[in-house]
Subunit: 318 residues, 2 copies
């Protein structure tokens, strides 16, 4: 599965950027993700003569330099393995724009950028879908086997994961005029903890309701009906299970909706929360109201007013 | 909720037709339905001076003439109640084009036509969405509380039921070139039995997979990607539970897919099965292969090659 336009003289040093993302987008647990602009992770990749991957800068003191444990390196390694080039030499330096364990798709962005850098150094033989698969190998190790962050990190926009085996992704239109309020309270929630809180079984009624909401989000994406999008942000599987782990979230959600947010839920497995609005002025008010709600729960927080990132992974020679 | 264009001189006798439908459309259990052309139920409604609804012809010897038990009459009654006109006099005559307990949306079509006839006799004060609600009252009594047949029977095309309370319907585009093979084996399956077979609980994995399939059907409807539509006809909740009640179904499905059907599943709660194809010649071959498979299971069957009905309920003065 090589792409048709392999660069015959690949660069020896590249910089790859991948955006953060809102996993789940409310009801789309593990199957829907939205890339968001503003913050992302940047991976610089450089060929080296000696075989093997070296993580020269992991991007954060809490991240490992061991290549087998760093998302960017695991994804780069997966790219090499797909091409039968296991003995490739590579030095990686990571700049983390995204918070660790923030629920903003940070590990997926690092994985996407790592895969993108490795691929570009080889002349870009792999397609973007291949890169999603490579990045997913990393995500599986560091955060769990799901593609709802890596797919938008690579492809940009709003992506539906129809199936993992074989990977079947549907890039949905991003409705115009959508603003995203992303609020990260000052607490870390390990993805594994957020995942352990999920129920193993759900009632049939809830399963069908959830399916109808995800389907309605897809309809809203195509039709541009932002009110429908908002009504469909109604997650009855993950949000009720995770909210108890996230002090202040329900209060922040209530505050967001009171300020006219179209919809509000947990971003990925949290702790970040997101809200949608079609009005930039309102976005500010929503962000402030959510911040105030977290403050009342004793938590400071970082508020970002942003919008969908339609581009995803971008790589350039440096 | 009256419509804006009430007829000041309503007719005294009307004929209402509503098409059959494929409930669920595979994974969309209770939340997705497709109206199909060809067969439908016709209800003639006539005003009478004396209060109350009379079912002069129930449409089939096995159907009750009691108004409180006949879908068309219950729906007509619901229309009158919505308008505060409980003392209205009405005579109904039903022509059943659709099979009883066939899984082709017969009770929903009768309900839709009954509601449409009653509304037209009063000058059409109700909107089509109101008529869906009225028809759903009938469906709730005779087949269970779900709108995935009544909504397409009234509105035509492919309809997503985002929520019942309050009713929130999304009319999806019907992709061009879609042919529907509808096969009804010679057996009746009461909707209640088909429903009792459903699991009360499903694993989270299956719930998420199912949501992804319904979402993919919606994406396929908007994008016209019939191959994606076919891949998404992958129901892991209702089909595995109901297939054991439907001798020959799995063999017929295998035969349909072997003949190149895009997808195949149970229509509503069965016993009818449906298959999708984008090729009319292939549709015939699929129908014959399915018929042959049922024959090997000892069942005769009726095969219809049809297509989506985009119009839904239609009413005319007679």
């Amino acid at each position: 599965m090589r792409s048709s336009s392999v660069d015959p003289q690949p660069p020896s040093r590249v910089e790859a950027y991948a955006p953060g993302s809102v996993g789940n987008v409310g009801p789309g647990l593990d199957i829907l993700g939205l890339a968001v602009a503003g913050l992302g992770d940047t991976v610089t990749g450089e060929r080296r003569a000696v075989a093997g991957i070296v993580v020269e800068d992991p991007g954060h003191p809490d991240l490992p330099t061991e290549p087998s444990r760093h998302a960017a390196a695991i994804a780069a390694e997966a790219v090499f393995r797909r091409l039968g080039l296991e003995r490739q030499g590579l030095v990686l330096r990571v700049r983390k724009g995204l918070p660790l364990a923030g629920g903003q798709g940070g590990s997926a962005a690092s994985a996407a950028a790592g895969a993108g850098a490795a691929n570009a150094l080889l002349g870009s033989p792999l397609t973007r879908r291949d890169l999603v698969e490579a990045a997913m190998e990393a995500e599986t190790v560091v955060a769990g086997r799901h593609a709802d962050n890596v797919a938008p990190a690579v492809l940009g926009g709003l992506v539906l994961v129809r199936a993992l085996e074989p990977l079947d992704l549907v890039c949905l239109p991003v409705p115009d005029g959508l603003h995203v309020v992303l609020v990260r309270p000052d607490m870390a929630l390990r993805t594994a903890l957020g995942r352990a809180a999920l129920p193993a079984w759900v009632s049939r009624e809830i399963a069908l309701h959830q399916a109808a909401q995800v389907a309605a989000i897809v309809a809203a994406a195509y039709s541009g009906d932002l009110a429908l999008l908002g009504r469909a942000i109604d997650d009855r599987i993950a949000e009720p299970a995770r909210a108890p782990l996230l002090p202040g979230f329900l209060e922040a959600k209530r505050a967001a909706l009171a300020e006219g947010a179209l919809g509000c839920s947990i971003s990925g497995s949290g702790p970040s929360a997101f809200a949608f609005t079609d009005d930039l002025t309102r976005a500010d008010r929503i962000g402030q109201a959510m911040k105030e709600a977290y403050r009342r729960s004793g938590l400071g927080c970082e508020v970002r007013i942003t919008e969908p990132d339609r581009e995803g992974l971008r790589v350039r020679a440096v």
